[in-house]
């Protein structure tokens, strides 16, 4: 036992010395970055060829690909150190079996991936915000600790909505926040493996005073919270359907790959056209996403009256995540 303890102590010591040692050699880091870039370049070249072949042979041909073939191609992108592109390929594989209108959705995804590849090929000519968006989409990550302090914003932040979704072996949590003074939205992402709790523990319907440090982007949304202290709930702001549509148009101008924008609507009313549920105000109407499982829940909360609602707008459908009626906030 003594021998085991001595061995363990010396190994711990060695490990601590290693962690105390100065940061890695910048040359080695640069070298590794260059190697990665080379691998990514070659992977994305292969990806572009694959997309072009798909368009040349026709989308109908892609529909006949087996799930294994899609997985294998995505895995090649992972090997090329472009995990973001691998994720886009996996999402594309789901599109071909998504029922009516799959051709439209597949062409959209392929076109946007093509645009990403084209943008990457001349990334050095683009402004820093766009460069950051492209790098993030391809799969480069930034450590929270390395985020520039210039991107931080002090405010009273309200947690307006939260949702989770599975991504490979992870569960991803999206928490949408809004600064009450600045009106800015922020998105805090959390990851959990095998049911582990998420880092961000605040729940919708709560507020805190603190800083959000935004990731660099041409349209910054993703952020990390810092120095937070609980504060009284501040509620949902008002907004029209037209301004929501406009905000996505603005976001797409800055970052064409953005998939959804957060939006506060209200006062709006819930309506129904046939089987389609909609939120409407004087400026227009937005269809509810079919991913929102229970529109009757929203009807119960609003009672047919005007109410406020927060959610995500993807240009086609609105996914409600929180609602406010009669002075009460309801997590959806």
């Amino acid at each position: 036992v003594l021998e085991w303890v001595a061995k363990r102590n010396s190994s711990l010591e060695a490990r601590s010395q290693k962690s105390d040692s100065p940061k890695e050699d910048p040359k080695a880091k640069e070298n590794r970055a260059r190697k990665r870039r080379a691998r990514v370049d070659s992977g994305l070249e292969e990806c572009e060829k694959w997309i072009r072949d798909g368009i040349q042979q026709g989308l109908a041909g892609l529909q006949t690909l087996t799930p294994k073939a899609w997985r294998q191609f995505a895995a090649r992108m992972v090997d090329a150190q472009a995990p973001g592109v691998a994720r886009l390929i996996r999402e594309m594989s789901g599109t071909v079996v998504s029922g009516d209108g799959w051709q439209d959705r597949l062409l959209e995804r392929m076109s946007m991936l093509y645009l990403l590849l084209q943008a990457y090929s001349r990334i050095d000519e683009l402004p820093p915000g766009n460069q950051a968006d492209i790098r993030a989409l391809i799969g480069w990550t930034i450590n929270k600790e390395d985020l520039p302090e210039s991107g931080s914003l002090q405010d009273r932040w309200s947690v307006l909505g939260q949702r989770t979704y599975p991504d490979e072996r992870l569960t991803v949590q999206m928490s949408w926040l809004q600064g009450m003074a600045s009106g800015r939205f922020g998105l805090v992402l959390g990851y959990s493996v095998a049911g582990q709790p998420f880092d961000f523990l605040r729940t919708p319907g709560t507020s805190f005073d603190g800083q959000l440090v935004f990731y660099p982007s041409a349209y910054p949304l993703r952020a990390v919270p810092r120095e937070a202290s609980s504060a009284p709930w501040s509620g949902i702001m008002e907004g029209s359907v037209a301004s929501m549509v406009e905000s996505l148009a603005d976001a797409l101008t800055c970052n064409p790959w953005i998939t959804e924008v957060p939006a506060c609507l209200g006062p709006v009313r819930l309506g129904r056209v046939g089987e389609q549920w909609v939120l409407a105000d004087g400026s227009g109407s937005a269809p509810l996403s079919p991913a929102f499982a229970d529109p009757f829940h929203l009807l119960a909360i609003s009672g047919g009256n005007e109410f406020g609602v927060f959610g995500e707008w993807d240009g086609r459908e609105f996914l409600p995540l929180g609602a406010s009626s009669g002075g009460r906030f309801h997590k959806l």
């Binding site: 072009r52 040349q56 042979q57 645009l115 309506g271 119960a300």
Partner: protein, 507 residues
């Protein structure tokens, strides 16, 4: 190039159908057709998303009437939402055989919460209306407990989803167009529920729909429609029900007989009663000249039996001394009929039956009848004399009413050992009644998982009967029992946790 044309090109492939130079906007290279399609695709995608989806003016919902003055119940609603979303929560009414399964236990937790809510004069919070109404649509046993706490908002909401028609607030039942719409758009139990609700509000209209929709249905659906007429049964329905008696389908004939028995003064009820009266008699006999109940044996060749073979003929299997008495007749007639026709009190009649040869089978049938006709006087007497190995579920249900509960507790205290290993129906029935600490302690002491599968199921479901103050004691009591870790304690832990959460004020 518009989007549809671009998609058509992409589907067939540029190898077969390349976009022509004239089709391409300026700036797109016709010598690179794939690049042109993809670049154009991304430009149009961004444009389409930026414009949003515009829908024609959507009719919004009418505003709900002002809410009842009762406030929402603010304890445990998060836990209720969690229970309703629990994968173990039943997706339909738990079957009889699974009476004490975990799904049924979860239902009972929700029922207890709903009862607390309505007994405190509160209503279901808006956030729970939709999931609870859905649960009620799937699990009918929840409905009577849910309806009193719905409030104005809940009743209003129920008018917008066909599956929630069981709420059938009076306003909707008065709306002929609404009823007609649902009549043609709903089916199965939802449709029957609609008719049952309509029957209590507009009996004639409901009867008319039953008669109109009757033809062409299967036996079981016809029987369900006939059962609708049990509510507010009147002589008006007799002619229709008499025609149903002619059906060769067992279910249809049974439903018609059961309904006719509820029609005051119906020809069939009179006929059954007079036949029934000839079956029982009280005679004095023996050395002490004491009274004895005699049950006349009936041959299968009896013309009355021949007329209603499905209802009155004795079962072919199992054969035994009881077969002559196993008539549905005793179950179908209201128990008060026997005491009235023999001019004997229920107490005395049950006492005589318990001493009579094969009288236990008679008691078993009366127990069911007491439950069907909600006859508390008979229930009380039957519980006193009913032995443990017969199904007295219906009676215990009646005795679970607060004023009769003590009687049940008395019998539990008397015979705790047999309770844990009692028949399945009794176990369920006993669990409808809260156990005071001393009764719970007696039952736990007398119980063991080794007593067999009935005891396991009984103890699992007992999670809700064990007083909260005794949770730890109960867990400790079984901690050392073999297999308790697999069969019992995890279920108890889950149920106890939910029960505690239901008591907590919501954040």
């Amino acid at each position: 190039v518009n989007w549809s044309e671009l998609v058509s090109t992409a589907v067939v492939g540029t190898a077969r159908q390349a976009p022509s130079v004239e089709d391409l906007p300026e700036g797109f290279d016709p010598s690179d057709p794939e690049g042109a399609v993809l670049a154009l695709g991304s430009a149009l995608t961004i444009q389409r998303l930026s414009l949003g989806t515009s829908l024609p003016g959507a009719p919004s919902f009418p505003e709900a009437s002002p809410e009842d003055p009762t406030g929402p119940y603010d304890r445990g609603s998060c836990a209720v939402a969690e229970i309703l979303a629990d994968e173990r929560f039943p997706s339909r009414e738990p079957e009889q055989g699974t009476y004490a399964s975990e799904p049924r236990i979860l239902c009972r937790l929700v029922i207890e919460w709903l009862n607390k809510l309505s007994s405190g004069g509160r209503r279901v919070p808006e956030s729970l209306l939709s999931p609870l109404l859905d649960a009620g649509a799937r699990v009918p046993m929840l409905r009577p407990h849910l309806l009193p706490g719905l409030g104005a908002r809940g009743r209003w909401l129920a008018g917008f989803k066909p599956e929630w028609v069981y709420v059938a607030s009076e306003a909707y039942l008065d709306d002929g167009e609404f009823v007609e719409g649902l009549r043609h758009s709903t089916q199965g139990s939802v449709y029957v529920d609609l008719l049952a609700a309509l029957r209590s509000r507009h009996p004639d209209r409901a009867a008319q729909i039953v008669r109109e929709d009757f033809k062409g249905l299967s036996g079981s659906r016809k029987a369900a429609l006939i059962s609708v007429l049990k509510g507010n049964a009147s002589r008006e329905d007799e002619a229709f029900l008499e025609t149903c008696l002619e059906s060769r389908d067992h279910q249809v004939q049974m439903a018609a007989i059961e309904t006719l028995m509820r029609v005051p003064g119906s020809r069939l009820a009179t006929e059954f009663k007079s036949f029934g009266a000839s079956l029982l008699s009280v005679r004095k006999g023996g050395l002490l000249r004491s009274e004895k109940l005699e049950i006349r044996e009936v041959e299968e060749t009896d013309p009355f039996v021949q007329r209603f073979p499905h209802v009155l003929s004795a079962p072919k299997f199992p054969k035994g001394p009881w077969r002559e008495f196993k008539f549905m007749l005793f179950r179908i007639c209201p128990p008060s009929f026997w005491s009235e026709s023999l001019q004997i009190s229920p107490a005395r009649l049950v006492e005589l039956a318990s001493d009579a040869k094969n009288g236990r089978y008679l008691i078993e049938d009366w127990i069911e009848a007491a439950g069907t006709y909600a006859d508390a006087d008979w229930a009380r007497e039957l519980a006193r004399h009913g032995s443990d190995d017969i199904e007295w579920t219906h009676v215990v249900r009646l005795l679970s009413k607060p004023d009769l509960r003590e009687l049940l507790h008395e019998s539990l205290r008397k015979d705790a050992k047999r309770v844990a290993n009692t028949s399945r129906g009794n176990a369920l029935a006993l669990q409808l009644v809260p156990w005071p600490e001393d009764v719970a302690r007696w039952i736990l002491k007398a119980s063991s998982l080794k007593m067999g599968p009935n005891a396991v199921v009984f103890l699992r479901a007992a999670a809700l009967n064990i007083p909260q103050s005794m949770e730890r004691e109960a867990m400790d009591h079984f901690a050392d029992e073999e297999r308790a870790d697999n069969w019992l304690l995890p279920v108890w832990e889950r149920v106890f946790a939910y029960r505690r959460a239901l008591e907590q004020p919501d954040a």
